[in-house]
């Protein structure tokens, strides 16, 4: 690992100008060499859409890990991730199993766990000549994990796939496996919520969780409480700047998340600033009832 990381540093240093890497970035890479072996992370995807992983790749922050590259290279040892890993098939499964045998890794799960039809609506992989359901793979890997992160609302409580009539019997990871998880809610979760939780986990101070297992650092107050449009005139249609969206069915009052102050995509925007309603994507009941309301209804 040490030598490999040094190779990567060499790649980056050699063309720091082309990569727009600052001396500070190079310094950080060097620091990573001093402490080379990040903890192993196994990232599994179940009944998911990959949106959580795509959101994670949008990480940009002044504090380490500053970007997705920083996260991948310097912070964690991402042994298994279906979208990013080079290996496929048996080689990929063997990589996960090797870490499983060592134990003590972080298991991050994206997507819920289908339980109907014997779990066969989602397979994780083929192992020893057998198609292994996601429920079985997640259960096995959770058994030797130091911590299990439910990344996103689907992994936390089932999410959209579990909305009525929940055709595949999707459950959140904790409910399906009977094991507590840290629930990083959101459809998708903000990259800072995911990276922040992992970073905190690495320092050994997870912080407090609310009664739904969400880190209170991000999910303490309601969207409405901190909304800059609180107590403004109420919009009756979309496309109007500056007005409260309560009449259009905004779920800000019942939804806990720091979106109004954090904003999304490097501060580019967020739902309410785009003149549209909060659809409550960090709620355990997200998707159960209507997301939108007819204008003027």
């Amino acid at each position: 690992m040490n030598i490999s990381r040094r190779d990567f540093l060499r790649f980056c240093t050699a063309s720091s100008a082309a990569l727009a890497l600052s001396p500070l970035d190079i310094f950080r890479l060097e620091q990573a060499l001093a402490n080379p072996s990040g903890p192993a992370v196994l990232w599994l995807q179940g009944a998911a859409c990959t949106g959580c992983s795509v959101s994670l790749m949008n990480r940009i922050a002044p504090t380490a890990p500053t970007t997705a590259a920083d996260l991948l290279v310097n912070t964690i040892d991402l042994v298994y991730h279906p979208n990013l890993m080079s290996a496929a098939g048996d080689t990929a499964v063997a990589a996960a199993r090797q870490i499983y045998n060592e134990g003590g890794y972080v298991l991050a799960v994206e997507g819920g766990i289908p339980t109907a039809y014997g779990g066969n609506t989602c397979w994780a992989w083929r192992e020893n000549g057998r198609d292994v359901t996601f429920a079985e793979a997640a259960g096995s890997l959770a058994s030797r994990a130091a911590a299990v992160l439910s990344v996103g609302t689907c992994a936390s409580w089932g999410g959209i796939a579990a909305a009525p009539p929940n055709p595949t019997g999707v459950k959140g990871v904790a409910a399906a496996l009977g094991k507590p998880t840290v629930n990083i809610a959101g459809c998708p979760p903000h990259p800072d919520w995911v990276v922040g939780t992992i970073a905190k986990l690495l320092t050994g101070t997870l912080g407090t969780l609310d009664s739904y297992g969400r880190p209170t650092a991000y999910f303490r107050s309601s969207v409405h409480d901190r909304c800059p449009r609180r107590d403004r005139g109420e919009a009756e249609t979309y496309g109007v700047d500056g007005q409260c969206l309560k009449e259009l069915g905004c779920r800000g009052p019942e939804t806990r998340a720091d979106c109004p102050t954090l904003r999304w995509n490097n501060g580019a925007n967020w739902c309410v600033d785009a003149n549209t309603v909060c659809i409550g994507c960090t709620n355990p009941t997200f998707g159960v009832s209507r997301l939108r309301k007819e204008e003027g209804d």
């Binding site: 790749m57 290279v73 999304w264 580019a268 209507r290």
Partner: protein, 488 residues
């Protein structure tokens, strides 16, 4: 002696895919002689839409896919606009195009660098790039180093493309600004300026780095301009409306047979879904999506997939950037693994340039939205393109609720199983003839599959029970109430 190789999971794509190929000696060379593609995730989002307000469809269908949610948002709002027989303002049309185009750019950059590149170069000596199948990697150490550096740079560029889309989309993935009747975000001058800054940042990367990198890989893998061809039947619904009725598009609608230069029209009534090799009752064979019906039947002789087989006048068609660029007359070098990558890169540049023009066409004082009333009853469809190919939604509204919602996704076309004539789906067909040096590390198979940029999470209706599993019944979703095969 033929050998069957099973690859599960096929990584570096979106969703769950298993591929089985049969390899045999053909003229002294180990070569793929048969292939079966099986999606391994089913979530049933179409079923979840039934009985909901149509206004929920854009948000819910976006959750089909976190890589191409904007395309589902676009298809869904166009379907609902069509259901109400209305068009949207020019501002709304342009803003929708800007967010969709931004996501094309991020998806294409992500695809080449982060999903496909490691099939051709050896990544850094650490996870997640190791372990790897270090076979037939032909680039020099220096060229590899350059590409790995660009992999890192591309992480930042695709992030910026997402930020560009979020300026108007609200956030990405899953932008909330797509609503029937128009769009929600206003085109304030500061937002227009920010968008322009992003696109000005992205174009030099696409032109000076992405496109040359694809060409460079192609120079070392010239055989991949013939490997992975398939039949050369190409289908594009077209995308990026340039007028209110969509009769003019940046990338036109059309259809091509056997890679000819003759572009034929697309008749949506010619699209059916076949089930001879899918686990559905044969009585539902060959139905149009608008009246689709799905009656699961397992086991079933000859079936091996829960994907149905979409066909156009009975024929299997490849969809994606190559199909679009070919139909549009922008790229006609050939149909192959490398041509798919190259057409995708050229399309990225074409879309980025268009974004630069469109953002200047916005009227900052003009309306973005007009109140949308749900029709009490209607049937409609909307057809657009996802980064990975043709996408259409169909809806039937009864008493202002969704009675039926159908999605036929690009990967449904590309990863489809055989049809009633025994003809393979496009990915299966493209794999035939692929050489395999080492059957324990069949990287050549990955190269062909990845060139299609498959997106299996969109596989709305993909499932295969374990061997010997009981027959399952989905009785409470009977008739046309939305249980259909679709993949993505």
């Amino acid at each position: 002696m033929p050998t069957v190789i099973s690859i599960d999971p096929v990584t570096r794509l979106e969703g769950h895919l298993k591929i089985e190929v049969t390899v045999d000696h053909v003229q002294g060379r180990q070569t793929v002689v048969d292939a079966h593609a099986t999606g391994t995730l089913f979530r049933g989002l179409e079923t979840i839409l039934v009985n909901r307000t149509p206004l929920d469809a854009p948000d819910i269908t976006q959750r089909i896919c976190g890589v191409c949610p904007v395309s589902h948002g676009m298809a869904s709002v166009q379907t609902l606009d069509n259901a109400a027989k209305r068009t949207v303002t020019d501002n709304a049309r342009i803003l929708r195009n800007l967010v969709l185009g931004a996501n094309f750019v991020q998806s294409h950059i992500l695809h080449f660098y982060h999903l496909a590149l490691m099939d051709f170069v050896e990544g850094p000596g650490m996870a997640p790039w190791q372990p790897s199948w270090n076979v037939d990697k032909r680039l020099s150490a220096a060229a590899t180093q350059t590409l790995v550096n660009h992999y890192v740079a591309a992480l930042e560029m695709r992030r910026k493309a997402h930020e560009m889309g979020a300026v108007f989309g609200g956030r990405l993935p899953h932008p909330p600004a797509f609503v029937p009747g128009g769009f929600t975000t206003t085109p304030r001058p500061d937002r227009i300026a920010t968008f322009q800054e992003y696109v000005a940042d992205l174009i030099p990367f696409i032109q000076g780095t992405y496109l040359p990198d694809v060409e460079a890989v192609g120079r070392h893998y010239t055989d991949y301009y013939t490997i992975g061809r398939g039949r050369g039947h190409l289908l594009a619904y077209g995308v990026f409306d340039l007028n209110a009725t969509g009769t003019s598009k940046l990338l036109q609608r059309g259809r091509v047979v056997n890679a000819s230069t003759t572009v034929q029209s697309v008749d949506f009534n010619a699209i059916t879904e076949q089930v001879t090799h899918s686990w559905y009752a044969q009585s539902t064979d060959n139905l149009k999506p608008s009246v689709g019906s799905t009656v699961p039947q397992y086991p079933k002789n000859g079936a091996y997939s829960w994907l149905k087989a979409p066909r156009y006048s009975g024929g299997a068609y490849e969809v994606g950037p190559l199909a679009r660029m070919w139909v549009n007359g922008d790229y006609r070098r050939g149909v192959s693994t490398m041509d798919r990558h190259l057409a995708r890169a050229h399309e990225t540049l074409k879309v980025a340039y268009a974004l630069q023009q469109w953002v200047d066409q916005i009227d900052p004082a003009g309306e973005v939205h007009q109140r949308y009333a749900i029709p009490s009853s209607a049937s409609a469809f909307g057809a657009t393109e996802a980064p990975r190919g043709a996408l259409a939604h169909w809806v039937r509204i009864v008493s202002k609720k969704i009675a039926n919602y159908q999605v036929v996704t690009p990967t449904c076309w590309n990863a489809s199983p055989r049809d009633k004539t025994g003809a393979r789906g496009p990915i299966e067909e493209a794999l035939i003839g692929t050489p395999v040096l080492d059957i324990t590390q069949p990287i050549e198979v990955l190269r062909v599959i990845h060139s299609f940029d498959p997106c299996l999470s969109c596989a709305v209706h993909v499932m295969r029970p374990a061997e010997g599993a009981k027959i399952f019944h989905l009785g409470h979703y009977s008739g046309e109430a939305a249980f259909r095969t679709t993949a993505a």
